[in-house]
């Protein structure tokens, strides 16, 4: 009765069809796609040799390391190095300094790029805007050594421009770089000088993404520029600000220790010595590899927890994971 007019196909479900076996498929896949594995290989090898092998080498933190026996051959001693660190004033000081310096950098350094981005956004003269942006991005591309060189030259007690200025004001010259109380302001200040401009790019991009009709309707409502900045721009870029803040908190232990190594002196260790500089002095300069590796492991674990927490928080807040 029911008749399939014309050549309708018959598709019974579950009928037998020719299907290649599991292994043929895998072999086939590699035969066809071997090239992407060749492309991947050098990178994976690199990661194994230069990043994962050192993780295996972290075991020296639990060993009495001797150069002659090597990483694997040195005897285990458990948590002895961690105990040593726990009772070490120097390590406690480094820990404290790390947190102090990064917290202070966060408090003073974090708002500057945001303010800068808001200010750049209010400039209507394009030539002025572009010129000043070009200049404030520049220090990001300058090496730490030169930053240190500039700081040392500028803050030098005799020839430095800062002390010349103080003298002109009638103040006694200060030897800033050997004064512990001056180390942090100088370090954080030079960090802001170097990075604030460049960091503002992220916020400027967020501002560029604000819907222009918001401003247009605000203008019609009679809002002033100041009000628009506070009531429209700032709330619009708040998600970006929060994400950036979370990232900063996640990287709290990452203090720019390269600049510290270039700027600190025994006289300023009290306020300047951070975990990584401590590791550098103990381990690489002092050849106490095992102890320094223990300090490094401690650092890495705390950093890992911070980063993971930050990522979880940001995922909750913004529904986007950072990576």
């Amino acid at each position: 009765m029911v008749d399939h007019t014309s050549s309708a196909a018959v598709n019974e479900p579950g009928r037998e069809v020719a299907q290649d076996g599991h292994w043929i498929r895998i072999v086939d896949h590699f035969k066809r796609e071997w090239q992407i594995y060749v492309m991947l290989l050098p990178m994976i090898l690199w990661f194994v040799v230069f990043l994962y092998k050192p993780m295996y080498g972290l075991q020296v933190a639990f060993k009495d390391y001797s150069i002659f026996r090597g990483v694997a051959g040195s005897p285990w001693i458990g948590f002895e190095h961690f105990e040593t660190l726990l009772y070490s004033d120097q390590f406690a000081r480094a820990l404290k300094n790390t947190f102090m310096i990064s917290m202070l950098s966060l408090c003073f350094g974090f708002p500057v790029p945001i303010i800068l981005a808001l200010m750049f956004n209010e400039i209507t003269n394009q030539l002025f805007k572009r010129t000043s942006q070009t200049i404030v991005y520049l220090p990001h591309f300058i090496s730490t050594v030169i930053i240190a060189g500039i700081v040392i030259t500028a803050f030098s007690p005799s020839a430095g421009i800062v002390n010349q200025f103080l003298q002109w004001l009638g103040i006694e010259p200060i030897y800033f770089l050997i004064k512990p109380e001056w180390f942090r302001p100088i370090f954080i200040g030079s960090g802001i000088w170097q990075e604030a401009g460049f960091s503002s790019i992220v916020f400027l991009a967020a501002i560029a993404g604000v819907n222009p009709s918001l401003y247009e309707s605000a203008v019609i409502d009679g809002a002033s520029r100041w009000q628009m900045m506070w009531k429209i721009t700032l709330p619009s870029i708040l998600p970006t600000i929060i994400i950036m803040l979370i990232i900063r908190i996640g990287n709290l232990l990452e203090v720019g220790f390269e600049l510290i190594i270039l700027l600190y002196q025994p006289a300023t260790y009290e306020t300047a010595d951070v975990i990584n500089t401590f590791i550098y002095r103990q381990g690489i300069q002092g050849a106490q590899y095992d102890l320094a590796a223990a300090a490094g492991l401690f650092n890495a674990v705390v950093a890992f927890v911070l980063v993971m927490t930050a990522n979880t928080i940001s995922r909750r807040l913004s529904n986007t994971s950072l990576w």
Binding site: S6, A8, A9, V10, N11, V17, A18
Partner: protein, 358 residues
């Protein structure tokens, strides 16, 4: 030139099967259009023929050779993509030459081939332009040119016109048809647009939900849809489908009866779906027509024709009729006349077309 043979093609992503066993024989030089709603598996099927998707089960044969495990480049097929995939960093000539260079065709030969194809497609003066400087239609032509220069055994088209505006689409459609007539290359064309399918195809394959619903020439499918899906998919506006019950002489729909030519012996009382093409009704009674009362609700004039939207019970039906330049005549319409010979009857339960021995 060669045919393409699909046998029991299945595609599964993990445990999810999206194509449930496709059998299709595409003859040499034939233009076959796969049509269906989005997600029906038509693109996936095409991509399995191209070699861009692995075939979970079944066989694809091109020109008598099983190609399941042969790389796309060695299948001797060319494909036109929905977004054209023109390399933005290369000009028109280099875009078309890309495949030929990779296949190490001699430079002089490349040059003549490109010139020839550009001539056919009317692209000669645009050869050194970048895709960004071309109009939509020109980009479409370059995409086809890139396929043509390789002289493949089979052309595959994956919704090639869906990025064009309506006017260009009509124009390019005709151009593809002309090109196929000229080159006579076996072609498989995927689209969701039934007008494209009707106008281009030698044979249409209507797909739904990973299965083939019906295969046939455009007119076969239009005149004798095997089920309500095909009936509703082809034709614009689509076939009206109203519920009814079979009687001795026809089908009772609401309070009126639509007469049928065929005898429904033995099926009286059966619930069915009555299919009436919008263009098959008329406003005047004729031989073998039955009156069909409707409540007119909206008239959409198209010029020489008009669409009458009407309510029938709680269902909406659409009819297409000549205007003769005047739509005021429709204001009093309260019924239309349905010719007995053109009414289609489908089983209400299965949706399959029913035909009755004369």
């Amino acid at each position: 030139m060669a045919g393409v043979h699909l046998e029991g093609i299945v595609k599964a992503y993990g445990a999810v099967q999206v194509v449930h066993g496709i059998d299709l024989e595409v003859q040499e030089k034939e233009f076959v259009v796969l049509v269906g709603p989005s997600g029906c598996g038509k693109s996936t099927t095409l991509r399995m023929v191209a070699g861009l998707e692995e075939i979970t089960a079944g066989d694809v044969t091109i020109d008598g050779r099983r190609v399941n495990r042969i790389a796309p480049k060695d299948r001797d097929v060319a494909m036109v993509f929905q977004n054209y995939a023109l390399y933005p960093h290369l000009n028109v000539a280099d875009n078309m030459a890309f495949g030929l260079r990779i296949r190490r065709m001699p430079k002089a030969e490349i040059k003549t081939t490109i010139a020839e194809v550009a001539q056919i497609l009317g692209l000669t003066e645009y050869l050194d332009r970048r895709p960004a400087d071309l109009s939509g239609g020109q980009r479409q032509r370059v995409a086809m040119g890139r396929a043509i220069v390789r002289h493949p055994k089979v052309f595959l088209f994956d919704e090639p016109l869906s990025n064009l505006d309506a006017k260009l689409r009509t124009q390019m459609r005709a151009e593809i048809k002309r090109l196929h007539n000229r080159l006579g290359v076996t072609s498989i064309y995927v689209t969701h647009d039934q007008v494209e399918a009707m106008t281009l195809a030698d044979r249409i394959v209507v797909m739904n939900d990973g299965r083939i619903e019906q295969v046939g020439t455009p007119m076969e499918l239009f005149n004798n849809p095997v089920n309500t899906f095909v009936a509703g998919f082809l034709g614009s506006p689509p076939m009206n489908q109203v519920r009814g019950v079979l009687t001795e002489t026809g089908a009772k729909v609401g309070n009126s009866e639509i007469k049928l030519d065929a005898k429904v012996n033995g099926h009286v009382g059966r619930e069915v779906i009555v299919g009436i093409r919008p263009e098959h009704v008329s406003l005047r009674a004729g031989d073998h027509t039955s009156p069909f009362p409707v409540a007119l609700d909206l008239v959409e004039p198209l010029g020489s024709e008009a669409l009458l939207h009407a309510r029938f019970g709680d269902e909406t039906v659409v009819f297409k009729t000549e205007t003769g330049g005047d739509i005021a005549q429709f204001s009093g319409v309260d019924h239309v006349h349905v010719p007995a010979s053109l009414v289609k009857i489908f089983d209400a339960e299965t949706g399959q077309a029913m035909s009755f021995g004369a």
